[in-house]
């Protein structure tokens, strides 16, 4: 949104776009201090000339990800294909549920028993970069020919921390609107609503086939709905420099009030506990729900007749929360040049084959891949078209943890009716700001 349009052409953009000799020199000179030069291997030997093909001895890469759901088989298949084409590299996978992933991974890397290469969410990159768990990948991005124009500015920028890139985006995955097509047909609803007025009108119609058609969750994905609405109303979650929480603004109150009103006006029952909005949708207790596109394969497996569309524009501009799975290389791989190069070869290959990943219900991050038939014929194609309106959490260390302890609880309290949106947001933003200040001191921003 506003940031992306008014963001000046900074040094990092220049580097990314240019790729000229001058840019490369700038990169080596200012790639974020010690850690950056370590990562690029520019310390003593010039090994930043990554060629894209691995030519060293046989090597085993430890690869961690959290694809425990319907996305798991697709990742396994891609890894198997990679190993077939690169017989010298053995990828030994470890799949850990995301909820535990971010606790275990840093500990394992610190102990030297973690991943050499792995996948993490974009909103965790800055945190792990600040902790020096993962390495900058600017040289890899350059040799892959990755540039901002192959992504959206939002997804591109969210992977940069302190002027260095830490993740290579595999996909983006956003919130989407699902509806039960049987119930919609019965109620005479045919088109997916694209704005707030149409959405409310269709909910009113849907009441004829389902008493409470749109359940408002109090927990996941409630805060993701709030983020989307906040951005739609023109608000902002956090200050770009990580100094302050900004969501207690009028726009924040407007967004949260809309969610509360869904309950107050009877479109949703009260006290929708975790997961029950989604389980209820699968069991035809409600007709419309907003959830992540990662549910596509799960919904297909239940044989529920469902439609999918971008979430409607409730505020005054289109915006939707999104996250992205990113490849990273851990500091553990840094000690071994062969592992480092093998890891880069792996990421290079996976990025180029990310069209296969569309089968997992995700949207490949690269534009060139998004235009392939694998994506344009997929269920999530209508969502992929809206990639320009997808917003990500800003790259501030510790931000995902702070959100969990503050904004998620405020949204829950307001939707439960325990506090007014204004009070809930004000108290929560104050606490988040205090934690952000503490983090800033800790991470030396």
């Amino acid at each position: 949104m506003n940031d992306s349009q008014h963001f000046p052409l900074s040094r990092r953009h220049f580097i990314a776009l240019g790729g000229s000799a001058a840019a490369a020199a700038t990169l080596a000179a200012c790639g974020g201090g010690k850690s950056a030069s370590d990562a690029a291997g520019a310390g003593s030997k010039p090994k930043s000339t990554f060629s894209g093909a691995y030519s060293g001895p046989a090597v085993t890469l430890s690869y961690w990800n959290g694809f425990t759901g319907g996305d798991g088989p697709f990742m396994k298949k891609m890894v198997a294909d990679f190993m077939k084409e690169n017989p010298k590299i053995t990828v030994s996978g470890n799949t850990v549920e995301w909820a535990q992933y971010y606790q275990r991974m840093p500990a394992a890397v610190t102990a030297g028993k973690g991943p050499d290469v792995g996948v993490m969410h974009m909103d965790q990159l800055a945190t792990n970069a600040a902790r020096r768990i993962i390495l900058p990948l600017d040289d890899l991005a350059k040799s892959l020919g990755l540039a901002e124009d192959d992504f959206t500015p939002e997804v591109w920028k969210a992977g940069i921390y302190k002027d260095a890139r830490y993740g290579i985006p595999l996909d983006v995955h956003s919130l989407a609107m699902y509806w039960n097509t049987d119930q919609a047909k019965a109620a005479g609803v045919s088109d997916a609503p694209t704005d707030g007025q149409a959405f409310m009108a269709e909910l009113d119609k849907l009441k004829s086939s389902v008493k409470q058609p749109f359940w408002m969750p109090t927990r996941w994905p409630a805060h993701l709905m709030f983020y989307s609405l906040l951005w739609q109303f023109g608000g902002e979650l956090y200050a770009k420099d990580g100094s302050k929480a900004l969501y207690d603004s009028d726009q924040g109150v407007q967004a949260l009030q809309w969610m509360v009103d869904i309950v107050k006006k009877g479109y949703s029952p009260k006290n929708v506990a975790q997961d029950s909005q989604y389980v209820g949708f699968k069991n035809k207790k409600l007709a419309v729900t907003w959830d992540g596109i990662w549910q596509i394969n799960d919904l297909k497996a239940t044989k529920l007749p469902f439609g999918i569309a971008p979430i409607p524009k409730i505020g005054n501009q289109e915006a939707v929360w999104a996250n992205s799975h990113n490849f990273y290389i851990s500091k553990q791989a840094e000690k071994d040049d062969n592992k480092l190069n093998a890891a880069k070869t792996f990421i290079d290959w996976m990025s180029k084959h990310s069209g296969d990943w569309a089968g997992a219900g995700m949207i490949p991050a690269r534009k060139t891949v998004r235009e392939s038939a694998a994506v344009t014929n997929s269920t999530q194609a209508p969502i992929a078209k809206k990639i320009e309106s997808m917003h990500f959490l800003p790259p501030i260390p510790g931000v995902a943890d702070i959100s969990g302890q503050t904004i998620e609880i405020a949204v829950a309290d307001a939707v439960l009716g325990k506090q007014s949106p204004k009070d809930a947001l004000a108290a929560s933003a104050k606490k988040a700001t205090a934690q952000m200040e503490a983090n800033k001191k800790k991470f030396g921003a």
Partner: protein, 320 residues
């Protein structure tokens, strides 16, 4: 060892004036060092996995400790003072979590002392199908906390759960928000915990009941004691050491409650059911505020030590 001590002390006690005061080693005592040798395997484990972590934890609690960062600045007692100064970021969350643990402990301990005793008394009777009955009550304990909590989370869901459906069908309120409002959430958490763990306490009680000599009951019956009098004057005194033990472990395990609120309520509503260990885990393992979390753990430990002393005092042998 125990015998040894008695032998050493006895002369001093019984002959306060005539004793030489010199320590006498009994003729059968092993050479010095042998007891230590026997204890060595356990002491090694105890030292490595209990004593050392306790000391290390104390050291961590005096630092701003994030193990993934290179520097761990010394902060002295700041992590502790923050817990007691109302303007710190952790004050309200910490005491809120201690309160949650307190409510849970006060609610669950009495039930976990009384209900399993009743079950054990029934189990101790001779009747047909007794083994099935015993197995049924013990069965939930075999399940892990994750299974129990996820199972009940769906059963207790306000909108799609079976419990409210059944309650509605028999004319009871069917809109109870078991997981998202207090006090219902406490009823749910305590109820599930009692259902889950009562079998364990019942088995310990049962073992205690079987230790009480049958002769005592016979004697009581001969003297014309009623069932209640037999329970009050034979069973309860006989069970006293067992009750003391069960009280202690139940208080400690209740104070350590984590899995049930973590999986069932996520601390909802707000952070009202976020218990102490839940919050410490969030602080230490999710936010990497390990110094902070360690200091909190020591405060909780102190409270538990005081509670244990109180229990020991309450169950002390009264003489005279």
């Amino acid at each position: 060892m125990a015998d040894n001590v008695l032998v050493e002390q006895r002369p001093q006690v019984t002959e306060p004036n005539g004793g030489t005061g010199k320590r006498v080693r009994s003729p059968g005592a092993p050479p010095p060092g042998v007891p230590w040798l026997f204890m060595a395997p356990y002491l090694l484990l105890f030292g490595g996995f209990v004593l050392l972590p306790i000391v290390y934890g104390l050291w961590i609690s005096l630092h701003d400790y994030d193990y993934t960062l290179p520097g761990h600045p010394w902060v002295g007692l700041a992590n502790y003072t923050a817990l007691f100064s109302s303007d710190s970021t952790v004050f309200s969350d910490f005491w809120n979590s201690m309160k949650a643990t307190g409510i849970f402990t006060l609610g669950s301990v009495p039930l976990l002392l009384v209900v399993p005793l009743a079950v054990a008394l029934v189990m101790n009777q001779r009747f047909k199908g007794r083994n099935v009955f015993r197995a049924l009550f013990f069965a939930p304990y075999v399940l892990g906390v994750a299974v129990v909590a996820v199972l009940w989370r769906f059963l207790l869901d306000a909108n799609i759960g079976l419990v409210n459906q059944v309650a509605g069908a028999v004319g009871l309120p069917d809109k109870t928000a078991w997981l998202t409002s207090t006090p219902s959430a406490w009823v749910a958490l305590i109820g599930v915990t009692v259902w889950w763990t009562l079998g364990f306490n019942a088995v310990i009680y049962l073992a205690g009941l079987q230790e009480i000599p049958e002769e005592l009951y016979e004697a009581a019956r001969v003297d014309g004691a009623s069932a209640w009098q037999r329970f009050r004057h034979v069973t309860l005194p006989g069970l006293k050491p067992v009750v003391s033990f069960v009280t202690m472990i139940t208080i400690i395990s209740s104070a350590n409650v984590f899995g049930q609120p973590y999986l069932m309520t996520r601390g909802a509503p707000g952070t009202e059911t976020r218990t102490a260990i839940y919050y410490f885990t969030d602080q230490g393992l999710r936010n990497y505020q390990m110094g902070n979390a360690a200091a909190m753990s020591y405060v909780l430990t102190l409270v538990l030590i005081l509670a244990s002393l109180l229990v020991t005092w309450a169950f002390r042998e009264r003489r005279g």
